[in-house]
């Protein structure tokens, strides 16, 4: 069985230890040198970057997250041993791990490291599809001749380079499609390298829960379970027509995924589907005027991002989270896409006015989706709001001023509330 030592990059035939360096970090698999779709997932990325920046943190439990009321965004592996998990409320994380060092996320710094990682990936292949700052799909098909080594070796070299040059480790999943590659990268974290070959795909999936499928959440699992579907094996017992009849287009996807089939390509320019910003308050807010101030700031952020990407969106979404974490979303479709903060704000404000739940709320968010090119946005003014055009012109003038003198150069009074 072909094998690879991830420490010294020696390739050999089978064995638990590397014949060259006697190291134990060996990956062996029949299809190791033929598979070419990979998923790379950094290990506790934000925490790893912080530890790199501050050597004192190396052996301390580190949690990255926002404020006293925030949630855990990333926990380092030391904190994870104590039971801290991502998305856990901060107070709970601190109960489990009172000595943890809690740090506010420094997104600019993480983005910088992420760019460096992405550059290492694009050294190997142009087909890199980032999913977030710390994970990406890579399609290395046809690159073996160019680099003089099979994909598995290239990937192992890449993570070794990440550790050496950036101080960040990652885990690799290698398989024959994106769905399986992503599952694989999660099997052996941290510093892992897992392979799911075509031969064992069916066996590998059989007893795993269908909740592993992207897009099948708690509600989806309940729906499937009501039909007696818990594992991939259960799913495989259904024929294609039945699945389609029961679950519509999702059924078609399930039929393929049940067999480990996924024909999605690794596409470097995955289009942006939505732009949204949200904020969690230090203390719950019920006062509509205070919410209004947040709403404006969020609308402005969303509009700024839309303008930066030359996009406009026709669907405006308002998101609120109540004190008990139950969320509430309201959305409205506009006649045409917009990228004007004023319009996004007014639309979201209209949605907020229709929310009858009194609150208080712990979070508010604004989103823009059904995105279209900016050239198709804001083409027809509102007959009933003749001032809108004037306000849009003022906004464009404001944007120009901020571009020249900085974001704080000119603000709306509303944003100070």
């Amino acid at each position: 069985m072909p094998a690879l030592c991830r420490d010294c990059m020696e390739t050999f035939d089978a064995g638990r230890r590397c014949p060259a360096c006697r190291g134990p970090r060996v990956t062996a698999h029949d299809e190791l040198f033929t598979l070419s779709i990979a998923h790379m997932d950094c290990d506790a990325f934000y925490a790893a970057v912080e530890k790199r920046e501050n050597a004192d943190l190396a052996d301390k439990p580190v949690i990255i997250g926002g404020g006293r009321r925030g949630v855990v965004s990333t926990a380092c592996y030391i904190a994870r041993i104590r039971g801290v998990r991502s998305a856990m409320p901060m107070f709970k994380a601190l109960e489990l791990c009172p000595d943890a060092v809690v740090l506010r996320p420094r997104m600019d710094l993480y983005a910088e490291v992420s760019r460096a990682i992405r550059a290492m990936m694009t050294d190997l292949t142009p087909a890199v599809e980032p999913l977030s700052l710390d994970e990406a799909f890579l399609d290395l098909t046809g690159t073996a001749r160019l680099h003089g080594a099979p994909p598995a070796v290239l990937l192992a070299r890449m993570v070794r380079r990440m550790e050496a040059e950036l101080g960040v480790s990652g885990s690799i999943g290698l398989s024959h499609n994106k769905f399986l590659a992503k599952l694989a990268s999660d099997l052996d974290k941290p510093r892992g390298f897992s392979v799911i070959g075509t031969a064992e795909t069916a066996d590998f999936l059989a007893d795993r829960p269908v909740g592993m499928i992207w897009g099948v959440g708690a509600a989806g699992q309940a729906t499937l379970e009501a039909q007696g579907i818990r594992s991939f094996a259960d799913l495989r017992r259904w024929d294609r027509k039945e699945l389609h009849a029961a679950f519509g287009s999702m059924g078609e996807r399930l039929w393929h995924l049940a067999r480990g089939q996924d024909s999605r390509r690794v596409s470097p320019n995955a289009p942006v589907k939505s732009i949204s910003n949200e904020t969690t308050f230090a203390e719950d807010i019920a006062d509509r005027d205070l919410l209004d101030g947040h709403l404006w700031r969020l609308a402005e952020k969303v509009a700024d991002r839309a303008k930066a990407k030359a996009l406009g969106g026709a669907v405006v979404t308002l998101k609120l989270k109540r004190s008990d974490h139950r969320s509430l979303t309201r959305r409205v479709t506009l006649r045409e896409p917009t990228q004007i903060a004023d319009r996004i704000y007014r639309t979201a404000r209209g949605l907020l006015d229709q929310v009858t739940v009194p609150g208080p709320f712990r979070l508010i968010g604004v989103g823009l989706s059904s995105l279209r090119p900016a050239a198709e946005s804001d083409l027809s003014p509102d007959l009933l709001d003749p001032d809108a055009a004037r306000r849009a012109r003022a906004e464009h003038a404001t944007d120009a001023i901020r571009r020249r003198f900085g974001d704080g150069a000119i603000l709306k009074g509303r944003s100070l509330r």
Partner: protein, 372 residues
């Protein structure tokens, strides 16, 4: 209760009832129609709590009484019965079933107690007047296309029916707008309507009302209060809540000073707009109008799909103008014109445009241009 009724009469009543009843109901009784038999007639009452329709039909009443039964089911049954059938509806009060029979077909339907059926509270109407069906038909048919579907501006989700000052005195006026186009339709003020409060008649009510207006000879009795509106023929009474909101001051958005005048055959114009818009697959297709001395060039330029151009001979004597519109909006207002030429009055490429039929100011339309 036991009645015999002709299929045609029952079908007509049930068609009206089932269209008011919402398809999905969380309150079971709202899926039902209340059937009340008394004397020599039977009435069918349906509601969605905002609209109530009562349809009286002639029937042979053997035994008076009342019950409620699923409206969609009964409608489907009656629809599938053969033409000319005589339908018997009977309930014995004890079984909780309504027996429906016609020829050799028999159905037994579950009922709910008539006491549970919500009957809309009667209202004090401050205005009562009669209007011929064709007058109301014109008012609502020509305005309803502009009703907004936007939920945040719920006060635009209907037709604003009110008394207004027209050019030759007071008129009964209907206005609808969605912020991109506006329709303003006038009719002579019927006697008794002078003090009518302005009301926003909801979209669904406008749709239901339309079914009462088919017959040219019918006089419709209209009753209006601040909160409700009622339209009645001798057989059918349609009562509806009105939208609780303030209709915006539309008068300030109707351009009065537009001077650039284009006169064009509406049908030819609409066909040309439709043709050139074919090349664009976008949801909001923009059509560009280039106007020059008695010449109109319509064009669409969709970068990914292609381009189209068509020239029309028109009457236009003003300076050159280029202006863009949403093709759908242009088509919709052009199709309101049925007798004379369409007259467009423009100001600039950024200002609202006015459209009317010939010199008739009793129906005017405003449409907002689009950047092209």
């Amino acid at each position: 209760m036991k009645i015999s009724i002709e299929r045609a009469a029952l079908l007509k009543a049930m068609a009206q009832a089932q269209s008011v009843v919402e398809r999905r109901n969380t309150i079971p009784i709202l899926a039902n129609v209340l059937i009340e038999a008394d004397g020599d007639s039977v009435s069918f009452r349906a509601t969605d709590l905002d609209i109530e329709v009562v349809d009286k039909a002639v029937a042979q009443v053997e035994r008076s009484g009342a019950t409620t039964v699923a409206a969609h089911t009964l409608h489907e049954i009656v629809r599938k019965l053969p033409d000319g059938a005589l339908v018997t509806l009977a309930d014995d009060g004890a079984s909780g079933r309504l027996e429906v029979s016609a020829g050799r077909s028999n159905f037994s339907l579950a009922t709910l107690p008539k006491e549970d059926f919500p009957v809309m509270a009667s209202s004090e109407y401050s205005s009562n007047f009669a209007a011929p069906a064709p007058v109301l038909r014109r008012l609502f048919d020509k305005s309803k296309f502009a009703i907004s579907t936007e939920e945040t501006r719920y006060y635009l989700n209907g037709v604003y029916m009110h008394v207004a000052e027209g050019e030759d005195g007071r008129v009964l006026r209907c206005v609808a707008t969605d912020g991109h186009r506006l329709a303003r339709i006038d009719a002579p003020l019927p006697a008794g309507a002078e003090d009518m409060p302005g009301v926003i008649v909801p979209r669904k009510t406008v749709g239901e009302l339309r079914k009462l207006l088919e017959d040219d000879d019918t006089e419709i009795a209209v009753s209006v209060s601040e909160t409700k509106v009622r339209f009645a023929t001798p057989e059918i009474t349609l009562t509806s809540k009105v939208i609780d909101g303030t209709f915006p001051d539309y008068t300030r958005v109707i351009p009065m000073g537009n001077t650039r005048k284009l006169e064009v055959d509406a049908a030819e114009f609409a066909k040309a707009v439709d043709r050139v818009a074919t090349v664009s697959s976008e949801r909001s297709r923009a059509v560009k109008l280039q106007l020059d001395e008695d010449r109109l060039v319509l064009s669409v330029n969709a970068p990914d799909a292609g381009a189209a151009e068509e020239e029309l001979a028109v009457a236009y004597g003003d300076e050159r103008l280029e202006i863009g519109f949403n093709a759908k909006y242009l088509l919709e207002i052009a199709s309101q014109v049925d007798r004379e030429n369409a007259v467009f009055l423009f100001n600039s490429a950024g200002d609202p445009t006015l459209m009317r039929e010939g010199d008739d100011t009793s129906a005017i339309y405003v449409v907002m241009p689009m950047r092209v």
